[in-house]
Symmetry: C3
């Protein structure tokens, strides 16, 4: 816990100072928000999905974020090329399994990605991640469906089997690798009323993973920052429209005293 308390702002400052390039192959719904949240953190987002350039673009980057929210066959092939390139360079690869559990295509393509390239961190909501762990659950489109499973067990077994860091988002966010577990309790219900907060969380994790090789620490720190900004924005907002505007402003203005006073994490 003291580690996390310390690290969240330290890592945020590292993002702001180093301004790492974060390469995304993501969905067409929230692509702007993914780019903008990375920009607001002080990093440099780039979105590129042509198979002819993804390998080269991934090599320019300090982290690669894949999100299957509006996947096509071509997009997943480009994701594999980008990830192989990132793997070869030791660049961390984050996979947001958006909508896993909704259709068999999404499940199959997630498993292909996990089997064929090295994914360093998998992120999804409860039903998406339960599905990726092998449970026969159904996701409600891209919104989480209730899951009658112990999420910590889901996360741990997935982390061990896939040898990666696992993030399950929800009212509390769970970050697990083979040996550690963090629960980030910050956040606000209004965040789930706005399309894109889940995708942005993965992009935030990508920006932090770009500056910190310990991915569990990077993910927990990123989620603390993003969720504290969400709390601040919610307190200033009459509804989901204003909330999204203020989310960017609050993340941009986030400072150490605010993080220290607000962070709620156990691990």
């Amino acid at each position: 816990m003291p580690t996390i308390k310390l690290k969240a702002f330290t890592l945020l400052e590292r993002v702001r100072t180093q301004s790492p390039v974060v390469h995304h192959l993501t969905n067409w719904v929230t692509i702007y928000d993914c780019a903008q949240v990375v920009k607001v953190l002080g990093a440099s987002p780039v979105m590129a999905h042509a198979r002819e350039e993804v390998e080269e673009m991934a090599r320019l980057a300090a982290a690669l974020v894949l999100n299957i929210g509006t996947l096509t066959m071509e997009m997943v092939e480009a994701m594999k090329l980008a990830a192989q390139s990132a793997n070869a360079e030791g660049i961390p690869v984050i996979l947001d399994v958006c909508g896993a559990g909704a259709t068999s295509l999404r499940d199959r393509k997630c498993f292909e990605l996990l089997d064929e390239v090295r994914i360093d961190l998998i992120k999804g909501n409860a039903s998406e991640m339960a599905r990726i762990s092998g449970a026969p659950v159904r996701t409600k489109g891209v919104d989480a469906a209730p899951v009658a499973l112990d999420l910590e067990e889901v996360a741990l077994s997935l982390a061990l089997r896939r040898k990666c860091t696992v993030v399950i988002t929800g009212p509390e966010d769970l970050v697990v690798d083979g040996s550690r577990r963090f629960v980030v309790k910050n956040g606000h219900p209004l965040m789930s009323r706005v399309v894109g907060t889940g995708c942005m969380a993965a992009s935030v994790i990508g920006a932090f993973a770009a500056v910190e090789p310990d991915l569990a620490l990077a993910a927990a720190a990123g989620l603390i920052c993003f969720n504290v900004a969400g709390e601040l924005a919610a307190e200033l907002s009459p509804g989901p429209g204003a909330f999204k505007v203020k989310l960017f402003d609050c993340l941009d203005a986030l400072d150490e005293p605010t993080l220290a006073a607000r962070r709620r994490v156990s691990g």
Copy 2:
């Protein structure tokens, strides 16, 4: 009229309570806003266009919204697959004929969709819908061009010929099926100064169609809610930027007394 007065809020509450999945194959310009307006209403948007999953995704949904704003050949083929799947399950299909009348591709693909699958509701602006009804009019890109036709006749003939509900949007929105006609007079000129309000209107109709099988009633109720929120947002906004933020907040906060005091509909 009493029916509509009653139904607008009743149906909005049904959307909020049932939180139906609304599947979209839409354009890349307003895809976020289409998802967000559905989310703000309390429903669950999902955007998916890969031909390999659209049939399965459509079956998960309670309504399917098609919008040809940035159509490609592949997208229209995926739309047909999704619509066939929705047709087989009795899920209502809404088609926004965005840009019909601007290019022959748009006209041809709209006619193909109307001929090859069951479209339950067609929605467009005056020149788009005049073109779909067969008139040789030209649309100004995706903005309505003046039409020297009686729009009620256009709507009625189209509704009868295509055996569907017809919505023609404009300063007043017209909702027609073979036997009834509603004119929704709510709305504000600022709505036409913001890209995406037209597309969002179709998504709102989709969310209401997901909870009410009488599609003329669903469309009129959805448009009343959306346009009243537009009025409220316009009154609070110095310009189109603020307006869009407040549109989401006003729709989120919309309550029965406000709807009762504001709704202007004849039928």
Copy 3:
């Protein structure tokens, strides 16, 4: 200079009055903002990229804006078709070389476009434009990298070689054709903290090019308007979220006295 002082508002009024159609083939990240900024100016944006309709859509338009931000092979082929159609009709073609210098695909496709169709105005940031002028510089994704070159020389040599107008954006925006040079000094650092301001600048130039055949004048006038709106928005904004909302409102409300008091341009 007096010409520019006079022209910026004159041209803005012409955009507002004529409401020209501005056809875009652009990227999926900022496609909404490109459309919305054109709409807020009073013009009529249309986004269409299917090869089967781009030639016809381009003919409907008064300007064509190409942006390679998320290019694919298919998109660039469609851009060529659209540009050939615009060329044949005398419609000005603006190319935003977004991310040139980041990957060899982007460089190669920019050169193909410049070689195979007539581009009337090329726009990019310092490292993008240096790369397009032939210098072996590297762009940091889509963010400008420092360039150890005289940008005025880069712009002039490119303008002469490609026989077009050249815009290099940055803390000061440089507009150059074979015989003239304008430096637009308006703007605010917050603009570079928001994804999409660069792409929007190209769309604004497109809207002004749609009403003014002298493209250097059109570009300088458009950039003055956009950057003055940026200054006004920044003064009203606590951060990048609010800034973007207010950018649209300030551009919408822009009037002659404000422009006269604010414009800072040399030429």
